[in-house]
């Protein structure tokens, strides 16, 4: 079963269109959702959560249409949104009281252990929290009602590298259960490289690719060569070119490229940069 399935999802704004988005996240997997600011990541996540109306297409969460989805399914979803959070006057003890009355599956012990793991001060109210602490609080809330699917919008941004590592560990524990899945958007591609099975790349409202991480590293590579060498290569294999004083770097489809070339592995960040900046064909 798919934890998440988007088919031809479209949303039109005056200055931006989310164009025929197709995403499939199999149960038990983590998908990273990358793209530059304004590419449509948050819009996609809002559509999934039915916070905004879609203009076309279908969305299924845990096998059910996301608009018809009942409260039982919502119990199984943990969400961390980029900006949205709690009343600024509340502290996390009060928040736990509220959540206990919202989620049937709320687990106080689980919440407490996460909160102390993230070292959140019970005396502080949300107003006094830093952005990172708010994120940690949201993550603790999202996990404390034992969800099956986590949907995270920029959940690790604003956190220092050590805190990010802690949280990635928490996600890693979570995904050990085969029924659990995570869909996370992020700018921090190194985080995604650490834990994701799938990478989906969105650019200007369109999905550029949706690959497993292994496929990605097998498909793309960075070729370093001279202009003459580049001219000899089949143009269809070149996805992007970057010229500098020392020669040419090109993002290439490495498995199709025959010949004696030096091809480095391409990181997600490099692939993104080539696609966005270096006139991709």
């Amino acid at each position: 079963m798919n934890a998440l399935k988007l088919e031809n999802v479209t949303k039109k704004y005056d200055s931006f269109t989310l164009d025929n988005i197709n995403i499939e996240l199999p149960q038990g997997c983590i998908m990273g959702f990358v793209g530059e600011n304004g590419a449509g990541k948050s819009t996609t996540i809002k559509l999934i959560l039915d916070l905004i109306r879609r203009d076309g297409g279908n969305i299924e969460i845990l096998g059910q249409d996301n608009i018809k989805v009942g409260k039982e399914i919502r119990e199984d979803i943990g969400v961390v949104l980029d900006e949205a959070c709690f009343h600024e006057n509340l502290n996390h003890v009060q928040i736990a009281k509220v959540m206990k009355n919202i989620y049937k599956t709320w687990d106080d012990k689980n919440f407490e252990s996460l909160v102390s793991k993230f070292s959140l001060d019970p005396k502080k109210t949300v107003k006094e929290y830093s952005r990172g602490m708010k994120m940690k609080l949201s993550i603790a809330v999202a996990l404390a009602h034992s969800p099956k699917l986590l949907i995270l919008d920029e959940a690790t941004s604003g956190l220092d590298p050590i805190a990010r590592d802690e949280i990635l560990d928490v996600f890693f524990d979570f995904i050990q259960d085969e029924q659990h899945s995570i869909f996370m958007s992020s700018h921090i591609t190194s985080d995604l490289e650490k834990i994701c099975d799938y990478i989906t790349f969105i650019h200007k409202g369109k999905i550029v690719f949706c690959h497993t991480k292994d496929e990605l590293s097998e498909t793309y590579g960075i070729l370093k060569c001279s202009q003459e060498e580049l001219d000899r290569i089949d143009k269809s294999l070149i996805k992007g070119i970057r010229k500098n004083n020392f020669g040419i770097e090109a993002l290439v489809l490495r498995d199709a490229l025959k010949g004696n070339f030096i091809i480095d592995n391409a990181s997600i960040e490099e692939i993104m940069l080539f696609f966005v900046k270096e006139n991709v064909k």
């Binding site: 409260k71 949205a84 959070c85 709690f86 009343h87 509340l90 509220v98 009355n101």
Partner: protein, 205 residues
């Protein structure tokens, strides 16, 4: 639903402390100056302002879009806010009634009528304002709110300026109004809830 109400009550706790001093101040003034209606009016305004303040807190923290990812429907959110209004107004009515009974020297019936009248006026304002606030947000809705508060005064003043006769209505007219008013206000309140459902169900978060 219970969770939502709990969140609002806890969120307002800190905020209310400052207002409690105001309330006490007005209570004392009313006591000495024999203007018990002033206190009743004030506490009723306060009671209906609190849920609006709660909405402004929610807006600031973008709580609504977060809450809607939980097992909470859009109807739950709207209803919880009307319910919060009723809870505060209910408490205010009790305070008004006891206060009027003690300080004014009026009898039981008159005190009840007086607090009841304040309650109905408060409910009426709330019913009109709330759908507007849901539509445009508390920040943008502030001006509309003030206009709606001032509108009756302005209308009455203008009418009397142009020579409209505001002589005291007869006892019987007053009694008829007293009987009809609760039903009219309740009807408007219910209509307001349904209007808010409609507005909120279409709102993009």
């Amino acid at each position: 639903m219970k969770g939502l109400i709990l969140k609002d009550l806890m969120g307002l706790k800190k905020f209310s402390k400052n207002y409690l001093i105001f309330i006490l101040f007005y209570a004392v003034i009313g006591l000495f100056s024999n203007m018990y209606a002033l206190f009743s009016g004030f506490i009723m305004v306060f009671a209906f302002m609190l849920p609006i303040t709660a909405v402004s807190f929610d807006e600031r923290s973008k709580w609504d879009s977060y809450a809607l990812t939980m097992p909470i429907s859009r109807k739950d959110i709207v209803l919880s806010r009307y319910l919060l209004g009723l809870i505060f107004a209910g408490a205010a009515v009790v305070i008004c009634f006891v206060y009027t009974l003690i300080t004014s020297g009026e009898n039981f019936g008159t005190s009840l009528l007086l607090s009841g009248a304040f309650f109905l006026v408060g409910m009426l304002f709330f019913s009109i304002i709330f759908p507007i606030l849901l539509k445009v947000g508390v920040e943008k809705g502030r001006l509309t709110m003030i206009i709606i508060f001032l509108l009756p005064t302005v209308i009455i003043m203008t009418l009397s300026k142009i020579g409209f006769d505001f002589s005291k209505p007869s006892e019987q007219t007053l009694m008829t109004i007293a009987w009809i008013a609760p039903f009219v206000v309740i009807a408007i309140f219910v209509a307001s809830i349904f209007l808010s459902f409609r507005i909120y169900s279409k709102k993009e978060m």
